[in-house]
């Protein structure tokens, strides 16, 4: 009996172990495959040169990198303040009643709504109705809408994890509610909001479907200089190179672009993970 238990335990455990290794292996495999297909094109020129359409080997993907960075920056600028403010209002200011809880529930659920749905909305509202066109602005707003529920969810969680006793102690010292939020709650919660937000932005940067719908661009003669300019973006560029470009090197370039994209999102996620780790080690309660 005992022996049987032990053996079944070791069998199951090795299965779990193996599956974990396969899961992690997939990540590494992805990177290896991308590198194998794209390593020949990734060099300094690839990263820093303007896109050359006729002979793609002469150019680089700098406009797409820049476009993605602009998108990421724009999403941060729009979705962080809105998302975090909403979370503050929901957790700190508004009463904890049924309506509040329903709103929180609905927002949590919105964070699982497919990106095409946000793309539909962005296409109509930003591109058509507000006539921003297929611009950086439309892309930023659409991706922001998608990111906001993620940020709110992460932030609400972060605010709720600040112990109630901190708030009481601060109020008992004669702090106003805003002082309490600003000096006690926010410093404890803000890292959670920011890490959640960065992970959200990393995901948003990899989204292609909303960009297809809003309309990222295939070729740009000039880098975007205003939010209403057209833009290129890494995920869309990958997609285009993988499906539409006739150059025999298109696949290598697609792989290279995908690798850069993945590195960008990994860097963001890694930053968020390190930030979280750093602050978790400082968090003592």
């Amino acid at each position: 009996m005992k022996i049987k238990n032990i053996t079944s335990e070791s069998i199951y455990f090795s299965i779990f172990h193996a599956m974990t290794l396969i899961g992690i292996g997939l990540l590494i495999l992805t990177l290896i495959l991308l590198l194998l297909s794209g390593y020949s094109v990734i060099d300094q020129d690839f990263l820093t040169r303007n896109w050359q359409h006729r002979d793609i080997t002469q150019g680089g993907i700098f406009p797409a990198i820049l476009g993605s960075l602009y998108l990421g920056l724009g999403v941060i600028v729009i979705s962080f303040p809105l998302g975090i403010s909403t979370a503050i209002f929901l957790t700190e200011y508004s009463k904890n009643n049924l309506l509040n809880r329903i709103i929180q529930l609905a927002i949590r659920n919105l964070s699982g709504v497919p990106s095409v749905v946000y793309g539909l909305f962005g296409l109509v509202v930003f591109v058509n109705i507000l006539s921003f066109g297929s611009s950086l602005l439309s892309g930023v707003l659409t991706l922001s809408l998608m990111t906001i529920p993620w940020i709110i969810t992460a932030s609400v969680e972060s605010f709720q994890s600040v112990p109630q006793k901190f708030r009481e102690a601060s109020l008992a010292l004669g702090a106003t509610q805003w002082q309490t939020i600003r000096k006690v709650v926010l410093p404890s919660a803000i890292t959670g909001c920011i890490t959640g937000g960065i992970i959200g932005v990393a995901r948003a940067l990899g989204e292609t479907a909303p960009l297809i719908m809003v309309g990222a661009t295939f070729y740009l003669s000039k880098l975007p200089s205003s939010p209403l300019d057209k833009f290129m973006a890494l995920p869309y560029h990958t997609f285009i190179l993988a499906t539409q470009h006739s150059s025999p090197y298109a696949n290598s370039y697609a792989a290279g672009t995908a690798f850069v994209l993945i590195m960008l999102t990994f860097l963001l996620s890694l930053g968020a993970i390190i930030l979280r780790f750093h602050f978790r080690s400082k968090k003592d309660w």
Partner: protein
């Protein structure tokens, strides 16, 4: 408080961004055809997007101020954007439909047609497929789903796998209206671009697909070796290759077509749009077109374009 500063900073940045957004609104949107600026937004056909990007790139070399963007998505996308006033030029691999013309007229647009090049729509199969030629009738039946096996057209006893474009594509419409004359078989796999079809057919021994002739050539303008280009013939006519320039230009190749560009109204003299169109029609432009694998215009189309240029004052 440092964190407060951080928040304040974020707010400030958002304010600045908002200012930029709304500050710039007035200039660009309401007047996409602003002659002062050197910007040109093009959108539409995936068949043309390579070619047009090449042209735009060459044009930019001479006009370093030009701010040109080219977006794909399909002919329907470009025409819809043209009607909505989002762009300066729509690439379309099919002629505008009557309802599209009337829609744009309703919006106060005076849409003009420019013929960019001639495309010999090319039917391709796997390089090991023994079939060399098909009649238009057979091709239609294959895409209708009435012929399902290669042996029915003289090939191996294997099922035919159909590859086509998604419905936004001008090529989808052109091929359907001029070859299939009915609905496509529901078994047809729809691909996101010409290149995706080439890639798929290259790997699929049973596959057949249609692409712009430019996609059937490699970057040196020679026919690709990894796919087979099928010769086509009408009833009682000899089979013709889309690589045969003369046959395509004089209409002997059964599915040759002009590919178009549409502009919302007549451009001003010396505006970037006018100069760009002139560039495309010039010898230099036509050489780029041929290098990209398409065919330069025949005299009939040249004359049509000239009429357009004549109208510009």
């Amino acid at each position: 408080m440092n964190k407060l500063n951080l928040i304040v900073l974020i707010f400030l940045i958002s304010c600045v961004m908002a200012y930029i957004f709304f500050g710039n609104n007035a200039n660009d949107i309401n007047n996409p055809q602003n002659t002062q600026n050197e910007s040109l937004a093009m959108k539409g056909s995936d068949t043309e997007v390579q070619l047009v990007s090449n042209l735009a790139e060459a044009f930019t070399v001479k006009n370093s101020n030009a701010d040109i963007s080219v977006t794909g998505g399909g002919s329907g996308v470009g025409i819809a954007a043209l009607i909505n006033g989002e762009i300066d030029l729509a690439n379309s691999s099919r002629a505008m439909k009557q309802d599209e013309i009337s829609q744009s007229a309703n919006r106060g647009l005076d849409v003009q047609e420019f013929i960019l090049a001639i495309d010999g729509l090319t039917v391709i199969t796997h390089s090991e497929n023994p079939i060399n030629q098909l009649s238009i009738d057979q091709l239609g039946k294959i895409y209708k789903g009435e012929i399902k096996n290669w042996k029915e057209v003289g090939g191996n006893d294997t099922p035919i796998v159909l590859y086509g474009r998604q419905s936004t594509s001008g090529t989808y419409n052109f091929f359907r209206d001029s070859v299939v004359n009915s609905d496509y078989s529901s078994e047809m796999k729809t691909m996101e671009g010409n290149q995706a079809i080439v890639e798929a057919v290259k790997q699929d021994t049973n596959g057949i697909g249609y692409v712009g002739v430019g996609y059937a050539k490699n970057d040196k303008g020679e026919p690709r070796q990894d796919i087979k280009i099928i010769l086509l013939h009408g009833v009682g006519e000899p089979p013709v290759s889309p690589l045969d320039e003369l046959a395509v230009k004089d209409g002997r190749y059964p599915i040759a077509r002009p590919i178009f560009q549409y502009i919302p109204r007549l451009p001003l003299k010396n505006s970037i749009l006018e100069r760009y169109l002139q560039f495309e029609a010039s010898n230099e432009g036509q050489i780029i077109i041929e290098n990209a694998g398409f065919y330069s215009l025949n005299d009939e189309y040249r004359n049509k374009n000239q009429q357009l240029f004549n109208k510009i004052k």
